[in-house]
Symmetry: C2
Subunit: 357 residues, 2 copies
């Protein structure tokens, strides 16, 4: 029997080199080394270096590790917002970030829109932080690059936070237009879950110090200041997910060898194949009609019968696609991540095309 | 060349079955399954069930997963303390928990003592939370069980929190005497770092609701209420460290098969061998002279020369022991965890006995 292939929106299929890296980690005792050892410091430094190369970061940007993107939402709230934020919401994940601000008594505002998600309201141009989502995993809506540029030009006094969870590195954007961006590794990076990567610039550090000077609470072991201070020494405040950091370092290395431009080009190519398949299947239709905002990495489609009929038929052929987010029984989600080869996607699409359900 | 053996206080030698479990996880695609899938819910339930059996928990106690013990300190502060706590401190880790309370503006008190660490001051018997450490990893001081019993009898109105990080399950204690206890998995459980286990009773949940009713902030995705609510459905708020949960489930299973009584007895036996070795080596001496509070799982000893001389000689024989905590160059730490067999410890002690440095 052939092996299962996961086209789920994350956790998803492991990047094709991960199994080999896990075996090497065991051989090299990576899971037993002290997080205060020189070996760990070198590993940490190499991982940070790879992330910097991947995103071509300048010296204004810094990197910290957390346990999830959920944690990064909370750390952004604790460290970068004193009173106000605006959240451009077009699905359950961007909504969740907004909900969390309310739990911290932030005077946050929500601008919810699915058809025209990034019509900025410059009335709010003095809010402390603007939250945008590069790729909303629940609905498959992307934020086009020109809308990120527009945000930067309209919100000159605000920090701009870009949620890149299921988008980066497959969907490019200009980093200079955002002050902080972040992702978890179980999406495009094809890694086991349990690690978040938070990138922030000097303006974020300044904001955190502002907040501290106002005698506000910024958290403890994972305050931005603490993370930043220890990060400079290639250290983390707590014993981190060493395994995750090791695997991330190695997978980014593999991606750099392949070339990010190639990954982006392949993403676009595979995206078109999936789009064509959804468009031409009599029982499936795109949730997002507007191609300009349709995600290239997470395709969400409506089904005219319960989607389980299709999902189960594919499972029988060892192809695992995602259900609709939450309790939506009439939707499917198909991930198009770097580990999914053209051949994988062509095979999946070929079988979907031939499947009535 | 023989394989390295890590006697470091954590991360440490992997439990001897972990490598096999990692291979099985890969075979079974555990790292690709959705955290909202039935497969994950079953895995979660089995892991929780194993923890309940391991500690013989009654229905008053519940379990949640975090990313580290550091995180649990923060969640305890956010969820279980409104204004006051007392911290019995006898090393760097218990001190750190106290420091974190200050970052959250808690009116906390510290009672620091190394020789007689658990002389309770009943003047403080109305503080909201009492923090005790079963096994302080930095100094190798344990809290004797009778001192936990005494705490319960003296602090009737307080929640008692027991830090079990490098102690459990090797050092037994009576759970009914504490309201919450917690550990990270890279110590006695011999697992990769990146997972914390938080056990709390109904009184903790009540305290959290009290705090919410007072309009206090209790955090967001990892508030106790949120963790507890999703835990009942065998779910986590965020995409958790699925790998860690899978490995923990399996290692506890292995430990249960071996028998916890056997693990405790072996710990005691190996502890005596290490004690004897330290006592009789002309260049090494116990940091903790009082046997009643000397840890059985983390032995800390002073060296009459820089400890590196000894550590390096052991490295040459593939035996890795720990440095002193922090910048202490004249100390060693030796872990005595369940994965360290009698033969391992005997070999290590034999070689230490014969080593001049």
């Amino acid at each position: 029997m052939s092996k299962k292939i996961y086209f789920t929106p994350g956790p998803s299929q492991l990047y094709f080199t991960v199994e080999e890296h896990i075996k090497n980690a065991l051989k090299k005792n990576i899971l037993s080394i002290s997080h205060r050892s020189k070996t760990f410091k070198i590993l940490y430094e190499e991982c940070i270096e790879n992330i910097k190369i991947l995103f071509n970061l300048n010296k204004n940007y810094h990197i910290a590790f957390t346990s999830s993107a959920n944690e990064i939402w909370e750390r952004i709230i604790q460290n970068l917002i004193v009173k106000t934020s605006i959240h451009y919401v077009n699905g359950s994940f961007s909504k969740k970030f907004y909900d969390y601000t309310k739990m911290y008594n932030i005077n946050s505002k929500i601008i919810e829109s699915f058809n025209k998600p990034y019509n900025y309201n410059i009335e709010y141009s003095n809010e402390e932080l603007i939250a945008i989502t590069l790729n909303e995993t629940s609905t498959g809506i992307s934020c086009p690059n020109d809308k990120i540029i527009e945000a930067r030009s309209k919100f000159k006094n605000s920090l701009i936070a870009l949620d890149c969870v299921s988008g980066t590195p497959s969907i490019p954007f200009e980093i200079k237009n955002v002050d902080t961006f972040y992702f978890s590794v179980q999406k495009c990076f094809g890694l086991p879950s349990g690690l978040g990567v938070w990138i922030y610039n000097n303006e974020c550090i300044d904001r955190c110090f502002d907040k501290i000077n106002k005698k506000e609470i910024v958290g403890s072991y994972h305050s931005l200041i603490k993370l930043n201070e220890l990060g400079k020494k290639n250290q983390t405040p707590e014993t981190p997910n060493v395994f995750g950091i090791y695997l991330l370092k190695n997978v980014i290395n593999d991606m750099l060898k392949k070339g990010i431009v190639n990954i982006i080009n392949e993403t676009n190519y595979k995206s078109k194949i999936i789009d064509f398949t959804i468009k031409n299947h009599p029982q499936i239709s795109h949730l997002i009609k507007n191609e300009a905002i349709r995600s290239k990495t997470v395709k969400v489609a409506n089904t005219n019968k319960k989607s389980n009929y299709l999902i189960d038929k594919l499972i029988n052929q060892n192809l695992i696609i995602g259900k609709g987010y939450g309790n939506n029984d009439y939707q499917i989600r198909i991930a198009n991540f770097p580990t999914h080869s053209k051949e994988n996607i062509e095979m999946l699409c070929d079988i979907i095309s031939r499947t009535e359900f």
